[in-house]
Amino acid sequence: MLAVFRKDLRIFVRDRWAMLFAILVPVLVVTIIAEALFHSDSGPRLLVPVVNEDGGPVASTFMKLLGEHAEVREVSRDEAENLVRDANKAAAAIVFPPRLSKQYLQGRSTEIELLTDPAAGSDLEAIKVLLLLMDKDAAALADPFSEEKITLRERNLTGNRLSITAFEQNVPGFSLMFVLMAVIFGTAMSMHDERDWGTLPRLLVAPGGFTRLLLGKFGARFVVGLVQMVCLFLWGHWMFRVSLGSSPWAFLVLALAVVFATVAAGMLVAGLAGTREQTLPLGLTFVMTFSALGGLWWPQSIQPAWMSRLSPAFFTSWAMQGLNDLVLRDRGMEAMTLPVSVLLAHGMAALALGFLLFRQRHSAR
């Protein structure tokens, strides 16, 4: 027993990179999660575009009250719609209608229009809470007897639905994480398996050479990953009524791009890892970091500013952007251009680097 114990310890200590990653991964993941969820830096303030068609004292008071908790920006209706619908920089815009002040001062209820992006989820809820607070504060300021002076009328700028389910907010991110896990580990480990099984030298002398060998393995993992992703999303659609968007072709194109970038990330892990043992902690680092910073676990808006600045460098951010556009905003192929292009670019870069590293590390052995 003691001999087995010593042997296993010796093997573990011998692979210093595996040992380092085994310690580094939990430290890195815990730090990212803690920073994202419990950071003291409050990050950028919630942007609330306001269309002030009233121009009176009540709208001014409302804007002052909102400004205590959010970044209020007075804009035209077109600008507000652009910030919410096209740029996705704000979860909602508030329209203070003409005669708001007059009706408010008369003690009459007024309808305030809320132009929303339901895909923004928690940010949209935060804006609604701010509006409730604003109404309450304003009522306390202006009319201590009647406290309901505004009613909200929501208009979804990015789709047909006024609300989205918790499943729709969470299932795509977690599905993507499992695709990431399966594909990155599968790809990286299969590359090293060939060496450990002793089949790599034989494959290397087979016609076609090293690059074809890598491309063949890449292709196989790509197909497996695509099937995994499609199955997971179909399950989410069937089980949790998660929308797959209005265009199946758009979903397919996005899935192809996402899986391409993911398999390429697996290739990169394979290239970085010197041994099969190293692929586990290294792959885990990739999966956890890319999930956290890509917004697969939580909305990116809750992250601290430094994390949000880093996020676009991770392909998962773009995958989530594409998925959100499809699932939550009912957008079609036209919205896929940017995320798919970036995913392909990320994939190409990771693939090239992964091939290069793997070739350098293993072709000579």
């Binding site: 008369q106 003690g107 009459r108």
Partner: protein, 200 residues
């Protein structure tokens, strides 16, 4: 001078006197009283001091200007009928605090209000004075109904954009009393007044 001529001369003097009163409002007439209250309020709103200090100063000005008892009776309508003197006194006290606070808070919504004054219309011992609050993008009509009392002209209702604040309160009292008792209403008013005092 014949009797008819003397009567004519007296009538002329009376008419001339009335015309003078309409053309040039008296120094302590309804328009002057309203103007004085609003100018004092304006000075307070525009002046230094925090919100709490302004609230207190405005309350003092408006206590003299507003006839809150008349306002309270107008707002309560039939709901004061059959109440004990203690209940009525309590309602009047609470309403006074609430109404003044409501009016003051609405006035404070305007950062730097400019007032313009229309004409006064006097009918017996009641009068109306039209005013406007002018902001850079809009004008808000605020008309005051006044009644002549022993202590001079005092406002018995305020119409913001043709909607009476007293009637507004009345509608709310009607709604509240349709669902609960007068005691409940007093309790609600007490909470509002105490809550407002605590919040400043």
């Amino acid at each position: 001078m014949t009797r008819a001529a003397r009567f004519g001369a007296v009538l002329l003097l009376v008419v001339a006197g009335r015309a003078t009163a309409t053309d040039a409002p008296a120094a302590n007439g309804p328009l002057a009283v309203t103007r004085q209250a609003l100018e004092q309020s304006n000075a307070i709103v525009r002046g230094s001091g925090d919100r709490q200090q302004k609230l207190l100063a405005l309350r003092d000005v408006l206590r003299d200007f507003l006839d809150t008892e008349a306002l309270a009776r107008l707002a309560a309508g039939k709901h004061l009928e059959g109440r004990t003197p203690e209940e009525t006194a309590e309602f009047l006290r609470l309403f006074r605090e609430l109404f003044i606070r409501t009016y003051v808070q609405r006035l404070l919504l305007f950062d730097a209000p400019d007032f313009t004054y229309g004409e006064e219309r006097v009918t017996g011992d009641t009068a109306t004075v039209g005013t406007e609050i002018v902001t850079p993008r809009d004008r808000f009509a605020v008309d005051y109904t006044l009644r002549h009392t022993e202590s001079g002209w005092r406002a018995t209702d305020i119409l913001v954009e043709q909607v009476s604040l007293a009637q507004n309160f009345r509608a709310q009292f009607d709604t509240a009393l349709a669902k609960s008792s007068f005691q409940d209403l007093l309790e609600l008013l007490r909470k509002k007044v105490d809550g407002a005092a605590a919040a400043g």
